[in-house]
């Protein structure tokens, strides 16, 4: 039932949002695209990290790997092929490192995933410089904004639909078991290693595909910008502020956060980050359950009215 609702909501959102390039202003479109990018990143992050409590800081690495696939394929691979390929490359990377590091817990896991991201970034920088005598690639004829927008929309909706399907599935139950008590889940027959690696790779797929889809907008793809750790930090921030164990929380948070940051930036061009920081602190202190808890509270009131 809940899965069906979620999928229907995705379909409706798709129908509503798809014609945007022909209806709204360039800026509104651009802002929507930003929101969708963070919806996709935050939802896919929460799908794994929210469920399992393995706080991954590898999002920037997945994003960058995806971006580099489009960069390398530019001119030979069509955009529509490069994007899923970027996702696949990130997923493969996640599966490979997941097998090695998914026994680490807590801060150790967070920091090592960050370290692995930096390792890839420096490896790519070094490899490019040594063998291709370049740092960064130019995308000489990027796809049209409409195309990028539609692809990002499709990816964001696919991430949400996948997250909903995972939550309703045995796989999702296993992930939740890992998050709650990993050893207990194992003694009840869950191959936790496989489940964790699979979940990590699935989340990575979306981050990679989004990197492949979005970075073409920047014309110049270089390690410093596509492996920007802030992309990863911001994703974690959004998902956790929304409520990482929920589905609706990260979505709402991605939209609120992107729009709010943008409005503040345009309104208070010099002090907006102070306002944003203060809001963030107040939110955590006085709404510790995240945005999702607002929704739950509202539902509870409805039921008990």
């Amino acid at each position: 039932m809940r899965l069906a609702t979620a999928l229907a909501a995705c379909a409706i959102a798709g129908l509503v949002l798809a014609p945007a390039p022909w209806l709204v202003s360039d800026f509104a479109l651009s802002l929507t695209l930003s929101c969708l990018m963070y919806v996709g990143l935050a939802v896919s992050w929460a799908m794994f990290s929210g469920a399992t409590n393995y706080l991954s800081l590898a999002t920037a690495a997945f994003f960058g790997i995806g971006a580099y696939v489009t960069a390398w394929g530019h001119g030979t691979l069509p955009y529509a092929v490069a994007v899923p390929l970027g996702g696949l490359a990130a997923a493969l990377f996640a599966a490979a490192i997941g097998a090695a590091v998914l026994h680490l817990r807590g801060a150790y896991f967070a920091v090592i995933t960050f370290g692995l991201g930096e390792l890839v970034r420096h490896a790519i920088t070094y490899g490019e410089k040594t063998w291709a005598r370049t740092v960064g690639r130019v995308i000489s004829d990027p796809p049209a904004t409409e195309t990028v927008y539609l692809v990002v929309l499709a990816l964001a909706l696919a991430a949400v639909a996948t997250a909903a399907a995972v939550r309703a599935s045995r796989f999702g139950l296993a992930l939740a078991g890992v998050g709650s008590d990993e050893e207990r889940a194992r003694t009840l027959g869950v191959n936790t290693r496989l489940v964790k690696t699979g979940g990590f790779a699935l989340a990575a797929f979306f981050a990679g595909a989004l990197g492949a889809a979005v970075a073409v907008r920047w014309t110049y793809i270089e390690p410093a910008s596509v492996f920007n750790p802030f992309i990863g930090f911001q994703t974690v921030l959004i998902a956790m502020v929304g409520g990482a164990h929920t589905l609706a929380g990260p979505i709402a948070s991605a939209v609120v956060f992107s729009v709010l940051t943008e409005l503040l930036r345009l309104q208070f061009p010099y002090a907006y980050l102070i306002v944003l920081g203060a809001l963030l602190i107040l939110l955590v202190l006085y709404l510790p359950g995240g945005l999702a808890s607002l929704l739950e509270r509202w539902k509870w009131r409805q039921r008990h009215a």
Binding site: N53, L55, A100, V101, H103, L104, G106, A107, Y108, V111, I112, F114, G115, L116, E118, L119, H122, A123, T125, Y126, K129, P229, F233, V236, L237, M240, V241, Y270, A271, Y272, L273, I274, L276, G277, A278, L279, L280, I281, V284, L285, P288
Partner: protein, 289 residues
């Protein structure tokens, strides 16, 4: 022979700087599970305070460090009172303290960094102090780097000693193992928590003050230092003062040797590879308890 001495010493000194950057965060995270991601921002504040005092009032930066420490200690008490106390009290599990303090840290990072932009502007700042080379056994080092290294080692040894041999240290270690248990045996966490948090910021501030003699400063300088600190403390083992020092020194020496034997371009690759290899072999860091 002098060459090798210089190479290793140079690595150790850079490693000492890495450790220096990490000591304060190690205290906060290791002892209270407060993942203060705005650590680098407070380091930046320490750097700016020292720069201001030296550039506009001509104060000797070394002599000014106690003032920086005190100012940031005070700021730490305030920040703890305003943000982290509530988190520590309302979070039912230690994982939640960790997660929520991470988010508050992000908020503080935005806030403090932007305040610095408004007050001091984005320009690079810096001054020259103790920049003259000192010759030690045929190798040459600048005084400011030596000072930073010396402070890192001294502060680490001091912390190791305090944690191991004093009553306060025993209380802090008890708190580290079980915050609830600590309360049961009569340790007043209501006093100890803010003090440890304040001490963490004070150490960050002193580190910033020392680094302002060596490197340039900008409001954006904090984030890379936070990353360095995180790497160093996980490498050493969270909460271990000895691990923090050893982790920093190890990275510094690996980088120096790597730069000599391979290419400086591989330096980052090497240090991350060493970091990852250590964690794979010892999932709780070098000095895991």
């Amino acid at each position: 022979m002098g060459f090798w001495l210089e190479l290793i010493a140079s690595g150790l000194i850079t490693g000492g700087i890495y450790a220096l950057v990490a000591i304060g965060l190690n205290l906060q995270y290791g002892l209270m599970r407060i993942m203060n991601i705005s650590h680098g921002e407070f380091l930046m504040l320490g750097a700016y305070l020292t720069w201001l005092a030296h550039t506009f009032a001509g104060v000797n930066p070394l002599a000014f460090l106690p003032v920086v420490a005190l100012a940031l200690f005070g700021a730490g008490l305030l920040v703890y009172r305003l943000c982290f106390r509530r988190i520590a009290r309302t979070s039912p599990a230690v994982e939640l303290i960790e997660a929520r303090s991470l988010l508050v840290g992000f908020g503080l990072m935005y806030l403090v960094q932007n305040a610095a932009y408004l007050v001091w502007g984005a320009d690079l700042r810096g001054y020259s102090f103790l920049a003259e080379p000192v010759e030690i056994m045929g190798a040459r080092f600048t005084g400011n780097r030596l000072a930073a290294f010396g402070f890192a080692v001294a502060a680490s040894l001091f912390l190791i000693a305090v944690l191991r041999w004093t009553l306060v240290g025993k209380a802090v270690r008890a708190m580290m193992q079980s915050p609830a248990g600590a309360q049961l045996v009569g340790i007043d966490t209501a006093v100890l928590h803010p003090v440890v948090f304040g001490a963490g910021l004070a150490l960050a501030g002193v580190a910033g003050g020392l680094l302002s003699m060596v490197y340039e400063i900008t409001p954006a300088m904090g984030e890379p230092y936070t990353v360095t600190a995180l790497i160093v403390i996980t490498l050493g083992g969270l909460g271990s003062a000895a691990g923090c020092l050893a982790g920093g020194l190890l990275l510094g020496v690996v980088e120096a040797l790597g730069m000599h034997f391979t290419s400086p371009s591989l330096k980052m690759l090497l240090s991350y590879a060493v970091f990852i290899a250590v964690l794979l072999a010892r999932p709780k860091g070098l000095f895991a308890r």
